[in-house]
């Protein structure tokens, strides 16, 4: 057990050192390759801790190698825009003057519900409040506020999402489907 304890301290020190060198970013701000490295490192660190017969180098060598790879990738990313684009992708404008860009959302595998959730997390409860919405390379949504828009007086509810009528939401607002469809046909 003492062996396990000492190994735990050694691996912990190595991880702290490596993660400090990787820079200060929370899990939600990690780029895809950083997320992969973090997951791999977490798994590799447990290997020599679980089994004393496994040499500690079986954990140390891959962890150090991953940190070296991370540093080299960061270095190349700074020097080359093409490499950065290849590795991290690029930001996408999902909300613009015409509203939600559905094609963009499909490309990013984001549903409308996911997008509305991201918007609400930014503190906005309706699309007209936003001039532009950009999904960054780390999956976060950046928003440019529309200063001319009036914020809603209550929490908006979606009634039609991706062409599907939501009966539960409509009935909670006492909205009749036929009347709504007639209204939409009249006004489009």
């Amino acid at each position: 057990m003492l062996t396990v304890l000492i190994r735990t301290f050694l691996i912990f020190v190595l991880l702290i050192f490596g993660i400090r060198l990787m820079g200060k970013r929370t899990i939600g701000e990690l780029q895809p390759y950083e997320f992969v490295i973090t997951l791999a490192v977490a798994d590799l660190a447990c290997l020599p801790l679980q089994d004393v017969s496994v040499p500690i180098l079986y954990g140390v060598v891959p962890i150090v190698a991953l940190f070296v790879i991370h540093y080299l990738i960061t270095l190349f990313s700074v020097k080359s825009i093409r490499f950065r684009k290849f590795l991290n992708g690029k930001p996408f404008i999902v909300i613009d003057g015409d509203g939600i860009n559905y094609e963009c959302c499909k490309k990013l595998n984001i549903s409308i519900n996911d997008l509305l959730e991201l918007i609400r997390q930014q503190g906005y409860f309706s699309i007209p409040e936003i001039s532009f919405g950009i999904i960054e390379t780390n999956g976060k949504l950046s928003v440019m506020k529309n200063d001319t828009a009036v914020p809603p007086s209550s929490v908006p509810m979606t009634i039609i999402v991706e062409g599907k009528f939501l009966n539960d939401n409509a009935s909670s607002l006492s909205i009749d489907k036929q009347k709504l469809l007639a209204f939409l046909q009249k006004n489009t």
Partner: protein, 122 residues
């Protein structure tokens, strides 16, 4: 920045040293072990002194090997060698021959397992 680059160079040197060192250590150890076992095997009556001398060499070398090879594998080899010593001591050369064959297999398999090859990578 200088600190990080220094650290990067040191890390790469460390990794290179470990990888090359392990490769050479395992290759040389099991090559020597295999040759020594072959030499013992060629004799009509196995010499207990030579067997014990090789065992002593193995015990010292396996301490270094513990850095890179699983202890269970090394223990298996040590147990087999212990059985060999027992068989030679009792002059049971048939059993000793079987144990020597087993040690040959260990040497070959371990060298193959730890060498750099496409099969091992995949």
């Amino acid at each position: 920045m200088k600190f990080k680059i220094t650290l990067l160079i040191l890390s790469v040197l460390f990794l290179t040293f470990i990888c090359v060192g392990e490769h050479l250590l395992i290759k040389n150890t099991f090559l020597h072990f295999d040759e020594a076992v072959t030499y013992i095997e060629r004799q009509e009556e196995y010499s207990l002194d030579e067997v014990l001398a090789l065992q002593s060499w193995w015990e010292k070398r396996s301490r270094f090997l513990e850095l890179t090879v699983s202890v269970q594998i090394l223990n298996d080899l040590s147990y087999t060698y212990g059985e060999l010593v027992g068989a030679v001591r009792c002059e049971d050369y048939k059993s000793a021959s079987a144990f020597l064959d087993r040690l040959h297999s260990y040497c070959h398999r371990l060298r193959e397992t730890y060498q750099i090859s496409i099969e091992n990578i995949l």
